[in-house]
């Protein structure tokens, strides 16, 4: 069976400043990848390259066996979804319209069908935003906008979703709710997730696989059990990490006092 995404020999960066060199990546259904790396290491750029929005210097990307360049924009959006790091409420639209936009890649009619409306409202409901559907999107708080954009991604419903710091602006309770929703809708449904995050705890407890980017071209990819350890992550993050054994497994936390 074809991988959801396969990248071969990918070179990414800016002229004179390579960020990722010769990357090989294979994402299979049921996997949850967490990408870690310092600021400016090329995490967001990698996501844009994998989605086909920015061309890599070289290398090949295949989505379910089809070369990325061979897909038109709509077909591409049916294979892969992207939550950008920076939210955007749009120009003048309501929250419901923001979420409806997720259906564009699968849209068959010029108007919005009852089914599309129902899907969008259901997605809003899943993220606890049903009451805000008719509100102007510009009036949403940062965390509400984040959730509305995740609802849009649920409507887009791609087999592989790339999310750039999806938990930004969310309170702790929402972070847990949203993560478990994403796992249920993607990882447990034989789809896949790739998240950019700064929290080593996510890599340890949510990820099945990790991709570590150092920002100088070097990278490491592999099962989370091997990579998401205090020993392996500390040099990448430039800070000491500690592991705490608890009844439900070991926790990974940053050492705030070490300097």
């Amino acid at each position: 069976m074809n991988a959801l995404l396969e990248a071969c020999g990918l070179h990414i960066g800016h002229p004179g400043r390579p960020l990722v060199q010769d990357l090989h990546l294979r994402i299979e259904p049921g996997q949850c990848w967490v990408v870690l790396g310092p600021n400016g290491a090329g995490k967001s750029t990698l996501l844009r390259v994998l989605t086909g929005l920015t061309a890599p210097f070289s290398g090949e990307i295949r989505l379910q066996g089809t070369p990325l360049q061979a897909l038109d924009a709509r077909a591409r959006a049916r294979h892969i979804g992207l939550l950008l790091q920076q939210g955007n409420p749009g120009l003048h639209n309501r929250v419901l319209e923001l979420v409806l936009a997720g259906g564009y890649a699968r849209k068959r009619h010029w108007w919005d069908t009852q089914e599309e409306m129902a899907t969008a409202r259901a997605a809003l409901d899943e993220l606890g935003l049903a009451a805000l559907a008719e509100q102007a999107a510009e009036t949403l708080s940062g965390g509400e906008l984040r959730r509305a954009e995740i609802a849009r991604l649920l409507v887009q419903d791609p087999p592989l979703a790339l999310l750039d710091e999806p938990l930004n602006h969310l309170d702790i309770g929402q972070q847990v709710t949203v993560m478990s929703l994403l796992r249920r809708r993607f990882v447990n449904a034989r789809r896949a997730l790739l998240l950019v995050a700064h929290d080593p705890g996510l890599a340890r407890h949510i990820a099945t696989h990790c991709l570590l980017l150092s920002g100088n071209g070097a990278w490491e990819a592999g099962p989370a059990a091997e990579l998401a350890t205090a020993q392996r992550l500390a040099p990448l993050l430039g800070r000491a990490l500690r592991e705490f054994d608890t009844p439900s497994g070991s926790l990974l936390a940053i050492d705030w006092d070490a300097d």
Partner: protein, 325 residues
């Protein structure tokens, strides 16, 4: 504030019919409403019949078509540039047309040649801007906006040059053209035809226009081809603008303000915003043109002056009301 778009559309159609009715009734010759209605349906060859059929109706329909074209072009330009100040002329399309027309007037080219010259000038300016702005990545179209604004500045310098060289007798004609004037030969079929084609094309793109509001990067991630959308928007809005300018000169304000008026009334989905803008822009220009030819009759004012005089208070009132609610 969210109103049923169907109700807004009914309002728009009623407004357009009302404006056209007023345009048919108003004029130096007093023709009662019942007579106007009868003459529209049957021709009797009377003077009143000729006034309606050959003067007022063609001029009103031309005004409606031009107003609609400018309003639709304004919507497209505001999406293309992601800028509320976008208007059909911001990228220099009208400047190219103006320089071609004024230069032709200066050397004494006949009036029949002016519309094709205006169209050619507009297209030339549009091509230069598009080719210059094509290079490199430009997700927010800032490069396009800057290229267009600089071109427009260049054109307006050339306009100033031609005006300062022109003999005093030619100046009023040139100024009328620059401000926009519907006093020339009316072309109702052409104006309405171009409006219908342009509106159909814009409506075809409407679902993508809704996505473009979230930024071109996000729209691309959702399935829009940004290069193709940008190209279509640019070509469509430029052709509409070039067509409008060629028929009636550079009528200002309609294209900038109509889309905002419609949004303030409560329509933001482009599938509704576009037809409503066409109706409202057309009506606004019909009313402005009716005033332009009746206010100081028998003399006429350039309609561009009146679009602004009418549009500014209406717009400020709506904006202010929005702020309070």
């Amino acid at each position: 504030m969210q109103r049923r778009p169907e109700r807004l559309l009914t309002f728009g159609i009623a407004l357009a019919l009302g404006a056209l009715g007023i345009a048919l009734l108003a004029g130096s010759v007093d023709i009662p409403a019942a007579e106007v209605a009868r003459l529209l349906l049957q021709d009797d060859g009377s003077i009143a019949d000729r006034i309606i059929d050959q003067l007022r109706l063609p001029r009103a329909l031309t005004a409606f078509g031009i107003g609609g074209m400018l309003a639709v072009a304004g919507v497209l330009m505001q999406v293309l540039l992601r800028n509320p100040l976008g208007d059909p002329y911001v990228l220099g399309v009208s400047g190219g047309a103006a320089v071609a027309v004024l230069a032709a007037m200066l050397v004494g080219v006949g009036a029949t040649w002016l519309p094709p010259l205006a169209f050619g000038g507009a297209l030339a300016s549009m091509l230069v801007v598009f080719l210059l702005a094509q290079r490199g990545e430009d997700p927010d179209n800032r490069r396009l906006l800057l290229t267009g604004i600089v071109m427009a500045a260049g054109w307006s310098a050339l306009i100033g040059l031609v005006l300062s060289l022109a003999p005093p007798l030619q100046l009023p004609g040139m100024l009328f053209w620059l401000m926009g004037d519907l006093g020339g030969a009316p072309r109702p079929g052409l104006a309405l035809g171009v409006l219908a084609c342009g509106l159909a094309g814009a409506l075809w793109l409407a679902p993508q226009l809704n996505l473009a509001g979230f930024g071109m990067t996000q729209a691309a991630a959702l399935g829009v081809d940004p290069r193709r959308l940008r190209g279509s928007l640019f070509v469509l809005s430029s052709l509409l603008t070039a067509g409008a300018v060629a028929i009636a000169g550079a009528i200002g304000f309609v294209g900038l303000v109509t889309p905002h008026l419609v949004r303030l009334l409560g329509a933001t989905d482009h599938r509704w915003l576009l037809p409503l803008s066409a109706l409202l822009g057309g009506s606004l220009l019909v009313l402005a043109d009716t005033l332009a030819r009746t206010l100081i009759a028998p003399a006429q004012l350039p309609v561009g002056v009146l679009t602004a005089l009418l549009g500014v208070p209406v717009f400020l009132w709506l904006l202010n009301r929005e702020g309070h609610s």
